[in-house]
């Protein structure tokens, strides 16, 4: 059983595999997102207090979750890449960053838009908001460092180290609402309880799953580009391009 894993850890065999996997994630992502958005924006009732504006939740929360998960995933792949010196995993880390940054930005943006009608302000410097902003800066730092180094292998190793150092921020973001009393609300949904009507919660989950699938699809796509770029001199890439012609 254990042969397959090592086989697919090589970029050459992962490239076609990733290509085959992308539709399996992309198509459900689109379907779920459409279902979730229709349900969330048109079918579900308004909130008893916030009225219509609460519908931002269906974008805000999945985006916020993904921004944190993706950073952790980046750090995870970076560590694997460093310990086992595996090229593929450091490429995974690199490929994750832009998606994470976009979700992080989306969470901030939708949060700020949502803050105006609910709190009465776009922005306050509370712990949750501040740490989330720091997360965005760390994504930027990661990408800037990666872009500033020409040698791809060195770029991957250096930015991987940065991702690991920065990963300490993620738990702080998540628990900030518990550790400090913030203006941002506490968790509505935790593994043990839900303070949200079941219909709303399930649509939020649908959107969250869509975001996961989307992230995986996009990351696979990026990883394929990354592989091509880094292995452009390998024999199998040359074969690939002659096949295409």
């Amino acid at each position: 059983m254990n042969i397959n894993w090592f086989k697919y850890a090589s970029p050459a065999s992962f490239y076609p595999l990733a290509g085959k996997m992308i539709p399996w994630f992309a198509v459900p992502a689109v379907i779920l997102a459409v279902i979730g958005l229709i349900m969330g924006l048109f079918i579900l009732p308004p909130d008893f207090k916030q009225g219509e504006s609460y519908r931002i939740i269906f974008i805000h929360v999945p985006a916020a979750w993904m921004s944190m998960v993706i950073y952790l995933a980046m750090a995870f792949w970076a560590i694997i890449g460093m310990v086992w010196n595996s090229r593929l995993s450091s490429m995974m880390a690199t490929a994750l960053a832009p998606t994470g940054a976009i979700f992080c930005f989306l969470a901030l943006w939708t949060g700020a838009l949502w803050g105006k009608p609910t709190w009465g302000t776009y922005w306050v410097w509370d712990a949750r908001l501040t740490t989330q902003l720091i997360l965005l800066f760390m994504y930027f730092g990661y990408m800037a460092l990666h872009a500033a180094i020409e040698d791809p292998r060195r770029a991957a190793r250096a930015s991987g180290l940065l991702a690991v150092v920065g990963a300490f921020n993620v738990p702080i973001i998540y628990f900030s609402v518990q550790w400090w009393n913030t203006l941002h609300q506490g968790a509505s949904i935790t593994p043990t309880k839900s303070e949200m009507a079941a219909s709303m919660a399930s649509v939020m989950l649908i959107m969250a799953i869509a975001a996961w699938l989307y992230s995986i699809a996009v990351t696979l796509k990026r990883v394929r580009c990354e592989i091509l770029d880094r292995e452009r001199h390998a024999a199998w890439v040359a074969e690939l391009s002659t096949e295409a012609k």
């Binding site: 302000t121 506490g186 949200m196």
Partner: protein, 151 residues
């Protein structure tokens, strides 16, 4: 030092450091690192004097009073144990109603009166449809989960 001893020293040093870190962090959360102060904390003189800070709690039911200029409002902020009188001149957030959570930035004067320069609504983690909320209210005779802010 032999390599093995060296490794042991490093590991032990690391563990000791980790212990100190955990102890310090735990100690920190005994203290007060807050975004806002509750009326009870103000009553216990924990809030700063003569300096701007944030006051958080619920707008007490039936305490809201508007002046004729239409901009100035008076209300009480409560955490069910204590209450603080608040005055604010300006535009209130849409969600500002009695029974709703607020966070107000401002100063306390000598007589315990809070003059706010900014009022924000604090929303809690409950989301439900209006009909459900009404049904719940009928059943319980109170606003649903309104105490979750106060903790």
């Amino acid at each position: 030092m032999k390599p093995r001893q060296k490794r042991m020293t490093i590991i032990l040093g690391g563990l000791a450091g980790l212990g100190i870190v955990i102890a310090l962090v735990l100690n920190a959360f005994q203290g007060n690192l807050v975004f806002f102060f509750s009326p009870s904390q103000i009553a216990a003189n924990e809030a700063p004097e003569g300096r701007s800070f944030r006051l958080g709690g619920l707008v007490e039911e039936g305490s809201l009073r508007r002046e004729d200029d239409g901009l100035t409002v008076h209300f009480y902020v409560t955490d069910t144990a204590q209450r603080v009188p608040v005055t604010y001149t300006g535009i209130l957030p849409d969600l500002f109603t009695e029974g709703q959570g607020v966070v107000a930035q401002g100063k306390l004067d000598g007589s315990g009166h809070f003059t706010a320069s900014e009022v924000l609504a604090k929303h809690d983690e409950t989301y439900m449809a209006p009909e459900v909320a009404e049904a719940l209210e009928l059943a319980k005779g109170e606003m649903p989960a309104s105490s979750s802010l106060v903790q």
